[in-house]
């Protein structure tokens, strides 16, 4: 027994606990417990009324037994009796028992609620707190029904003690999380927000958690909390390390409260009020500055508390994603942590950088740390840290570093922990596909994956390589040659046999000219693996053999012999047997022509979302990966499903027939319950007929501003009102692009007949091709649906397409139109060039029609880093050390359209004194110079 047993001396309890500890075996323990249970039962049933102390002691013993992991089926009534004791500790034990062992016995609930009600009304703050703690601990719906209406009153009552307010706030939070419908909003909500101003730091600390939760569900009702939170935060951040007395933790003022306030601010976009925003940015800067100051204590608690605030600050900066300056500073700070001796900090820095990598402003800055991250992958001793390093490499990957990152991941895979191999395989497969410029590299990478970690290569991965090879003629010969060589290895993975079998069956003819890979050699090679493989692989190989019969008539007899053998024709597996019988018959009876038709090369697969990506998302859970994936997804040959050909009808959206025109005419008032208007033209949503524009709403207010914001970035929220949020993620490569449009239903009610339509005006239509599929016409409350638009730039263009959305919400017809930010600069490919080349080309474009110049006043602060980020975001390369004046910016790139490529040079000269810019664009085409100049001028 311990020397100190403070306050209370429930001797019987201590003896019992000692006894249990002294039990030598599980049996002995159970025996002792049963003895005690029998004893307590008899005491509770006995005639003699127990005094409060004994009742408390026995209830406490029962609790102890329960916490040891044994079932308790009595004692609840005694615990409830304790609740109405006027002795604090008896009440306390009663409440503890109820909190831990709630029972849905309705009679008991009524009694418990009664006792709680009395305590809440007692005006004794300690009793009130106990009751509130109990409600918070149980948090059941029954409790919510009984008390959700009373607690707000206690929370904002002028005469409530601070400790009661604290408990009431968090109690309400728990009830609100469990059953938000039970908590009535009302006059108290405004007063709750003002608790942010409370003098008592503990009250603020508790209240912020409640407010944060309320804000998430009703952002508009709680908007006033932004400025209050900012000023509170500002006071804390600027206070000296001792100002806050007991709320200072290891020289860090109010770390918990600071973190909570920063969390609260992440429920909202950056403050609209300039003064508030200024103050907040100042706070964020102060936190970043403090990170550079020498520590005030060597204790880890000091640095943890300080860095907790720093990481939360960085989260807020990332959430805003609008202050390039702060984003870059955050990235530098995290860069320092990457090499910190504290494992925890390295872990968090890797994690936090993952999100920074997806911001357009900091993506480049993150990339500079690639060597450190690769090193972490090789040297970290903790697998969870290595896992973060893999995630970060994946997030920072783009075309420029993909070969390096994929190579590093592959080499790490050789020794990687088994627990994370499958995920790495998926990531490598996705990156290799996404960033493959040269598809031979892609094929090599996937075959390497199979070689190194064949067991972890899921079906999706090997299906995928086949789909891609089939869809790209330029790589088919190489793929055939490579799999043929890989199959030479004495022991190769079954997955390789599958890929090899499939590819040789389709494209073996491309290498059959080489006597070293003649048809017979190919066949013998595959067949040498046959008997070692599982049934599905053998089935696949049989299909390869029949394909060979068509490709190479000279091996037909050999293959027929194999099919005819007993081990095939009488195979115990019915699938194998059937294939053998049917293929043998087919090869015997069918004419060459029929064979050629039946066994024709597979048609290309339709483009859909990558099944590997879907798998990775599933593996990681939707919350963590989705965003990053979507952000970083690039246009690629995205096909889906197993290697079975899809019916041709789904493969592409065809151009509308002239008759569709008639359906488009006068489609103005959409029928309330009828099919969405677009379905008339065969599911074609790219509405190219200007007549139907009469149904389109005028552009939403503010949509111009939003549009401009997307010129230099690809992701973000395009439109938001009370009902609907439209988010965009897009990516472009050369003259192609893909845009993911996310429609979020912000209400709790369904949207019906939800019909987004893309409209290209007559002027725009010949220059830009948009393809998409209809979305589900019903959008559930709180749900988000996604629409993918494939974009092709045929030739240069000026206008932007319009996205018009119509739907029914609770009986009213809603109509929203916004400009879709598909602008000419999206088809920019940056071009690096030396100073000399730049000036040579600049001179070549000296024809007056080729140059467009604009002189304009700065609308935003003139910050070099921001400007650089914007020029890069615009899509051109930023050329350093080209302009003799280092203050100027020079860029170069090529606009890719289907018909032509247009070289573009640009020069931006800031004049700080005058707060003016001069922007000059030179391209080979006047209209392009004009449009790019317009677009870019609006950015500064």
């Amino acid at each position: 027994m311990p020397a100190v047993s403070k306050g209370d001396g429930m001797r019987g309890l201590a003896v019992f606990i000692s006894d249990i500890r002294n039990c030598k075996s599980k049996e002995a323990e159970i025996k002792r417990i049963n003895k005690e249970l029998a004893n307590i039962r008899s005491k509770f049933k006995g005639d003699k009324a127990l005094d409060g102390y004994s009742k408390k002691k026995y209830v406490c013993k029962l609790l102890f037994i329960f916490l040891l992991g044994h079932d308790i089926d009595f004692g609840h009534m005694e615990a409830v009796n304790l609740l109405s004791s006027n002795k604090y500790t008896e009440k306390q034990i009663g409440y503890l028992f109820i909190s831990v062992l709630v029972n849905s016995n309705s009679e008991l609930i009524r009694l418990i609620n009664n006792a709680i009600k009395n305590d809440l009304a007692s005006r004794n703050p300690t009793f009130m707190c106990l009751a509130l703690h109990c409600i918070a601990n149980v948090g059941s719906r029954e409790m919510g029904e009984a008390f959700a209406a009373d607690i707000p009153r206690i929370l904002v009552a002028g005469d409530s003690m601070d400790s009661v307010k604290q408990s009431a706030a968090l109690c309400l939070l728990r009830l609100y999380k469990a059953s938000p419908d039970l908590v009535p909003m009302g006059e108290w909500t405004a007063r709750v927000v003002h608790l942010l101003n409370d003098q008592h730091m503990g009250v603020v600390t508790a209240a912020v958690s409640l407010i944060t939760c309320l804000c998430k569900k009703n952002p508009d009702d709680f908007k006033t909390c932004i400025s209050l939170a900012v000023s509170r935060l500002s006071r804390i951040v600027s206070s000296a390390s001792t100002d806050l007395q007991d709320y200072t933790y290891y020289f860090v003022p109010a770390p918990w409260l600071s973190v909570k306030l920063l969390r609260l601010l992440q429920c909202y976009p950056p403050p609209e009020d300039a003064a508030v925003k200024g103050r907040l940015v100042e706070c964020l800067e102060t936190v970043l500055n403090k990170a550079q100051e020498p520590p005030k204590s060597k204790k880890v608690q000091h640095s943890n508390a300080k860095n907790a605030i720093l990481f939360e600050t960085i989260s807020l900066i990332i959430h805003y994603d609008s202050e390039p300056n702060l984003l870059v500073r955050a990235c530098n700070q995290l860069g320092q942590f990457l090499q910190h001796r504290e494992t925890n900090l390295r872990y968090l820095a890797l994690e936090s950088m993952c999100t920074l990598a997806s911001s357009e402003f900091s993506h480049e800055a993150v990339k500079t740390h690639i060597e450190t991250v690769i090193n972490a992958l090789k040297t970290e001793r903790d697998v969870s840290v290595r896992q973060r390093a893999v995630d970060l490499l994946y997030a920072m990957c783009d075309r420029s570093n993909a070969p390096q990152i994929v190579a590093e991941m592959l080499s790490y895979l050789e020794t990687a922990d088994y627990s994370i191999r499958e995920e790495i395989v998926l990531k490598v497969a996705i990156l290799a596909e996404k960033y493959a410029v040269d598809y031979t590299w892609y094929v090599d990478t996937i075959l390497n994956l199979i070689r190194i970690a064949g067991d972890y290569v899921s079906e999706e991965v090997w299906y995928r390589v086949i789909q891609i090879v089939i869809n790209r003629d330029d790589v088919q010969g190489y793929a055939a040659k490579t799999v043929f060589e890989a199959l030479q290895a004495p022991a190769c993975h079954e997955n390789l046999v599958k890929v090899g079998g499939y590819i040789l069956g389709e494209f073996g003819n491309l290498i059959a000219g080489d006597p070293r890979s003649s048809p017979l050699i190919q066949f013998n090679l595959l067949h040498s693996k046959f008997h070692l493989c599982s049934v599905p692989t053998r089935a696949l190989l049989l299909s390869t053999y029949i394909k060979f019969v068509n490709l190479f008539p000279e091996v037909k007899p050999t293959i027929q012999d194999v099919l005819r053998s007993d081990s095939q024709l009488r195979n115990a597996d019915v699938e194998l047997q059937q294939r053998a019988v049917e293929y043998l018959r087919l090869s015997t009876v069918a004419s060459t022509d029929i064979l050629a038709t039946v066994l024709e090369e597979m048609p290309p697969f339709p483009e859909r979302e990558s099944s590997i990506l879907a798998k990775l998302k599933k593996k990681k859970g939707p919350s963590t990966v989705t965003d990053l994936e979507d952000t970083k997804r690039e246009r690629s040959v995205d096909v889906n499903g197993g290697p079975e050909p899809a019916p041709a009808s789904t493969s592409a959206v065809s151009t509308p027939s002239p008759s569709a025109d008639l359906l488009g005419l006068g489609a103005a008032p959409p029928a309330p319950a009828g099919p969405p208007p677009s379905s008339g033209s065969g599911g074609l949503l790219v509405d190219v007929f200007s007549d139907s524009a009469s149904a389109v709403a005028p552009l939403a207010p503010g949509s111009e501003d939003n549009f401009a914001r997307f010129v230099c970035k690809n992701n973000g929220v395009l439109f938001e009102n009370q009902l609907l949020q439209i988010g965009l993620k897009s990516e472009f490569r050369q003259n192609l692009g893909r845009m993911f449009i996310f429609y979020g239903n912000k209400t709790s009610t369904q949207f019906l007949n939800f019909t987004p339509t893309l409209i290209c005006s007559d002027d725009l239509q010949p220059h830009l091709n948009l393809q998409t599929k209809p979305v589900d016409p019903t959008v559930e409350g709180g749900a988000q649906v996604q629409q993918v638009v494939n974009i092709e730039c045929v030739s240069d263009f000026t206008e932007a397409p319009v996205l018009s959305i119509q739907f029914r919400y609770g009986g009213t017809f809603q109509n929203v139109s916004v400009q879709l930010p598909i602008t000419l600069n999206k088809f920019f490919q940056p071009t690096e060039m030396a100073s000399q080349d730049f000036f040579q080309r600049w001179k070549q474009l000296s024809n007056p029609q080729q140059e467009v110049q604009n002189i304009f006043k700065a609308k935003h602060p003139m910050d070099t880093e921001v400007t650089k980020a914007k020029i890069i975001g615009f899509g051109s390369a930023l050329l350093e050390e080209v302009d003799p004046n280092p203050a100027n910016f020079v860029g170069a790139g090529i606009i890719h359209t289907k018909t032509t490529q247009i070289g573009c040079l640009l020069r931006l000269e800031p004049n700080l004194q005058a707060q003016m810019y001069r922007l000059t664009l030179r391209t080979s085409k006047e209209a392009v110079s004009q449009r790019l100049c317009e677009l870019l001028s609006a950015q500064f």
Binding site: D51, T89, L132
Partner: protein, 156 residues
Amino acid sequence: MQFMLLFSRQGKLRLQKWYVPLSDKEKKKITRELVQTVLARKPKMCSFLEWRDLKIVYKRYASLYFCCAIEDQDNELITLEIIHRYVELLDKYFGSVCELDIIFNFEKAYFILDEFLLGGEVQETSKKNVLKAIEQADLLQEVRYLFSSLGTSMLS
């Protein structure tokens, strides 16, 4: 925070606090799984790990592991300091707290935790204020003992 577990190096659960509704069966399963995972980790490893869709933050103090499960957007470092502050509170209350104190006075450990964290959120971070609340209770209790030691209290 979704839950907090205290367990010994031998894997014995010493305290469990759940802030989300779960069945007893589920609680036992989670406990078993997490105790195993955390005990398998080596001393210098990082204090955070991903587990299901939660983040686990843990720290060892002498023979006891303190282990919290937080949600994706929660702050790991501040959670680490929640653990530390709780240990400090126990320490201050018991005077150099050891595992035995928590075993024999488990109810006190729960009371202190309720003053500090409620519904999974930090309620009061001031050591003084938390302990004041607890000590007030002890005071009330001692008065009662005075009477009970005299036999049946006149007041009861």
